[in-house]
Amino acid sequence: MTSSNKTLLVLGATSGLAQAYLRLVSAEGAFGTYVLVARNGETLSTVRDDIAARSGAKVITITADLSDPDKILPVMEDVAKQHAGNIDEGFLAYGVLGDQKDFQDNASHLKDMLDTNFVSAVLWMETLAKVFETQGHGQLVVIGSVAGDRGRQSNYLYGATKAGLERVSEGMSHRFAANKDIAVTLVKPGFMDTPMTDHIAKGGPLWATADAVAQIIRKAVVKKRARIYAPWFWRWILLIIRAVPMPIFHKTKL
């Protein structure tokens, strides 16, 4: 049971990472109200029941297509109608991985991915930044990716959207640098074992569970870190990948 009066808003609450994070903060009793938004209503109600049972807190759900910019206003109105108080933390967890090859061949698939991963995400980030400014405090968590650190033939289109989110959140951290009560954290997970990667053969030391990544995020949020690799070793792997000179890099198939 929780006595917290804080509110967490999760966009893309049915994602594997969002669920792991929700379970973690439920066990901590960190929030008194959860507002969960996702597209798939059936899965969302499973998550709602789970988080309500685990946290003993109030859980509000809104089924909406987050990638649609026209839905942002109605969703925010819906949130305000069901929950009169502040939003203390926003967790932006939706996104599609897709297939690089398919994006190269199919412009409308590519546009959908760009809209979901970048355009709508930025609109949501700005919307929440405004909310935080108005209420005078708030924390935003944005899920980026190590794929955004260098353009590679295998997934530079997906990577570009995540790189873009990193610039936006970097700028936002700068914008709020003078305000100790507003913080933005960009998380860059490496390989993660979630439904999004179900089709890939997994295993090996580089794969982390969603639970492990969620714990890293939680620590970063508490410390108000602006940017974090999850787990930490990705920072060094990407440092090397970025440092490889182009002529050599171009000989690889990464």
Partner: protein, 434 residues
Amino acid sequence: MVKPVLSWGRAQRYDQTVVSLGRFETAFDGNRPLDGPVTFRGMGRSYGDVALNENGTLVQATGPDSVIAFDRETGILRARSGLTLADLHRITIPAGWIVAVTPGTKFVTLGGAVANDVHGKNHHTAGSFGAHVTALMLVRSNGERLLCSPSENADMFALTISGLGLTGYIEWVELQLKRITSSNLHVENRPYADLDEFFSLSEESADWPYTVAWLDCFSPEAALGRGVFSRARYVEHGPLNVKPADKAIKWPLEMPSFLLNRMSISAFNWLYRHRPAATFKGQQDYDPFFYPLDGILDWNKLYGHKGFFQHQSIIPMENGKAGVRELLEAIRREGQGSFLAVLKVHGKELSPGRNTFPYEGVSLALDFANRGRKTVDFLHRLDAIVLAHGGRMYPAKDALMTGETYRKTYPNWEALENARDPMISSSFWRRVTN
């Protein structure tokens, strides 16, 4: 993906197609049938082959583990079957509720706990796990969903509890939890001299909710069955603490098997009997009390690459002393000692399960390094002793009993065979029904 899968004892390794639960659900409509029969697998903590399916399909059932409802007033919790007791306790203990019956590891799923109808140190007062299951949802391979409870589909309920996963996919389980006002127990450990003293201690401790004894297989003839008796009850006032997820250490590698021999086991037993904790009296957290082995993940690699066998048997009370004595004598003669020999007096079974292992009697659990043919023959000799005293072996721990032994000692097996989902089978089931 076809890959080899090991039993928890690591003595059995079979090739099977491993698929996720989603793949099982899409097989219902017949569009994409699965290869061969299907077995469900929880956390794979069964020592033998109940969760193995040689040349068939193994459906990994650990994925869905969400809680459906938890009433903090009544302690009734309903959750998807993949939830482990470790995770369940993180939710319920802070609210003052704990699972009413727990096996010696918290890394088991609700589905696995129901399918084996597991028991714990409080069997003499609380019965097996199934006695606290208020309802469950069974999904059959023809797409039928059966709500089972003591009042609805009661036959299927009683056959699914202790049904070894054969009656269908257990989608969710609803449990009545036990109220606690502290996560600490008052524990009393006491070394005892022989079997007679074990039985008198058990009798004297009958109103203690948790009792168990660890015994030394290499004791001298005169002190056969000596060990450390342990009894406990929850304290009334105290903290409600849960073990955090990341505190266990991992056993890194398979040990060379020569490290486990008569000398090392005798030394271990001596240390165990003489360590300060052997006479411990005081408070202990529930986690080390119930789950002493869970502190080291993958401890089953201790037995080297050939793995080991568990042997757990129960013998009716009237033959209990004689049966256990004969088992221990056989072990002494063989010189094949067991590290973790656990002895317990069981009470009347309260679970509705039709094929639940325990009954009023005394159970002995042992583990033996796998030394090939020699060990197999020896375990069959132990089976014969159990049989001669009217007892039986526990499928969750068994890898070797003959079909004849199983069918003779579980007379309700035929009812289970009749209720079995035609798409489901397991290596264990084929072994004991052929």
